[in-house]
């Protein structure tokens, strides 16, 4: 097809499959396969059943990765999510111990998340001059601080009647319920980010906020919705984390924000905004979760896992930058 200027415009790119495999998502699938094969080779107990049984604890963090990816795509950040998990979990345990029916406790947890997310969103929308990093740093301290006050001197609470949480933590066959939920919400987030207006608007804001604003994107609305979603999913994470631990303490959820950001960034979602695919984040989350379970089974020091995640994180951003620079130099040399 010839365009106005006479250049040919090819709507169907060639080598679709080659491109797909060479993309970061393709690389992630290969990495996931390598991790699974290596872990299986190292440890005889690394079976599907065992991995799925250990998954719920780690999968809870995946709920954080999904909306975090949205926020990162806009070039923003939220480091208060770990504290929201803590506050929401604490309130949930208090509600259960106060004799409230379990669904009410769940509503309280969700409500806590929504309110916390709305507070973050409101501050960021009303004061666009403030970097989201510093706003959420403040609320991070506040949310955990409130949980600390509620927990008092002991600093921890156990759910006296954990039947409800136990029910949530159950499995259908060998697959835990939370696994289905993660897959369903992952699919919804993929659809929103690729097929719906909201996802396109996120990317527009992340690429160039001013242009997005002038082309009619309601920047403030999108920002606010994203932060509220982040809060709601932090509450979901809190619900399933409590279902694995039956309690909360002052350190619950500490560092979750960093894990969620690490998953997203390793999945190719740039923290500077406007780049990345949801599916990459989901794949990288599974890579990290499977790796953790595998190394955990081999009794590898949990700190070694941190070391590996740290290297993966830097490598995932550094290597494409280096290869881009090399190919740019090559082009320069040719011309």
């Amino acid at each position: 097809m010839a365009g106005k200027s006479g250049r040919t415009i090819n709507a169907t790119p060639q080598n679709v499959w080659r491109k797909r495999i060479l993309s970061w998502e393709g690389v992630l699938i290969v990495i996931l396969a390598v991790v699974l094969v290596l872990c299986r080779a190292m440890s005889a107990t690394y079976t599907l059943e065992n991995v799925l049984r250990e998954m719920p604890k780690y999968l809870a963090e995946m709920f954080l990765m999904l909306p975090m990816a949205f926020i990162l795509m806009m070039g923003e950040i939220d480091i208060s999510v770990g504290s929201i998990v803590c506050l929401s979990g604490t309130l949930g345990c208090f509600a259960v111990n106060a004799g409230m029916p379990f669904p009410v406790a769940l509503l309280i947890m969700l409500g806590t998340g929504l309110i916390c997310g709305a507070i973050n969103g409101a501050i960021i929308v009303i004061f666009p001059e403030l970097p989201s990093m510093i706003v959420t740093l403040g609320t991070q301290i506040i949310f955990r601080g409130i949980a600390e006050i509620m927990l008092g001197g002991g600093g921890s609470i156990a759910a006296k009647n954990a039947d409800g949480f136990r029910a949530i933590g159950k499995s259908l066959g060998i697959v835990p319920i939370v696994f289905f939920l993660v897959i369903i919400s992952g699919a919804i987030f993929v659809i929103i980010s690729t097929k719906m207006k909201f996802g396109r608007e996120l990317m527009a804001i992340g690429s160039n906020r001013l242009t997005a604003f002038y082309s009619g994107v309601k920047v403030k609305k999108v920002l606010f919705i994203s932060y509220v979603t982040m809060g709601a999913f932090s509450a979901l994470c809190a619900i399933f984390f409590t279902a694995a631990t039956y309690g909360a303490n002052t350190t619950t959820g500490k560092g979750f924000e960093m894990d969620a950001i690490a998953m997203a960034v390793f999945g190719g979602i740039s923290s500077t905004g406007g780049k990345g695919k949801m599916i990459g984040g989901i794949l990288s989350a599974f890579v990290i979760v499977c790796l953790r379970i595998g190394l955990g089974q081999k009794n590898v020091n949990s700190q070694v896992i941190l070391l590996i995640i740290g290297i993966l994180l830097i490598g995932a951003v550094l290597l494409p930058n280096i290869s881009a620079r090399i190919s740019a130099n090559k082009k320069k040399a040719i011309s």
């Binding site: 004061f127 403030l130 600390e148 006050i149 008092g152 740039s270 700190q303 070391l307």
Partner: protein, 319 residues
Amino acid sequence: MQKRELSLVIVLVLLIAVVSFVNPSFFTIDNFLDILKNNVVTLIPTLGMLMVLLIGGIDISIASTMALAGMVVGLLFKYNKIESTLLAFIIALAIGAVCGCLMGTIIGLGNVPPIIATMGGMYIFRALAYIVGDSQWAGAEALGNYKDFALKNICGVNVTIWITLLCYILFFILLKWTKFGRNIYAVGSNAEAAQISGIKVARVKIAVYTIMGVLCGLTGALNTSIYASAQPNSLTGKEMDVIAACVIGGVSMSGGRGTVAGSLLGGLVLAVIAKALPLIKIPAIAQNTIKGVLIVVVIIVNVITQRMMNKRALARREM
């Protein structure tokens, strides 16, 4: 003195006045020296963070670097590898410099966003602190003479406070009156313009993160001496305190704005609040909440005054 610092001085004086009025035992020289000594581990890295924020970066790996440096020093004493305190400090500074230089190179030459690079560093250095320790830690008896270092007084003032003071004077001079200091401001205000005008931006970035690392090494070594223990999980979350001190002190997160005096005042405000709350009968458990509220209030007030100032400037121009 700029308006910003002046308002912080007023806040600080008011704070001290109110607390002293409620509880006179607060207003003693010993108490103030105590506050300073307890906050050396926040005040020293605040200087490095100031520089990092000035070039528009951020460093959240600092607490891990401190833990790594402190841990190595502690273990060297534990297994009798070294005896001299001076050597311990040199080793700690070197470890910090290597960690910082690594971060700086990844950020400056690799073009990795600072938050991602230092988040990776946070994981890696913390993991290394655990791995070198191999589930061991160094207690008071293992540290021998080294722990006495932090107990020494010169002219009635603790030696760690002298070190902090020296750092602040050095950095004040460095940022205000040296070419390197002005280059930092230039890079932070407009990196592209700085590059075009001949400043080697990548080199400035590497230098700044290396200096940050050196300060972390120093802090880690001091921390081991002050608290007479070296543990791999020490100082977790310290990076947020340091960033908070800078932000309260008026350092802009987007780079180019901030002073040594401001960040010192920011650190002091946080330090005084932490010490004062128990004295005016606010339970220590509410401390973090108040700290968080304070950070949010300060940054919001800052934005509102900035908006008003801009509006006034605009009105003047229209006339």
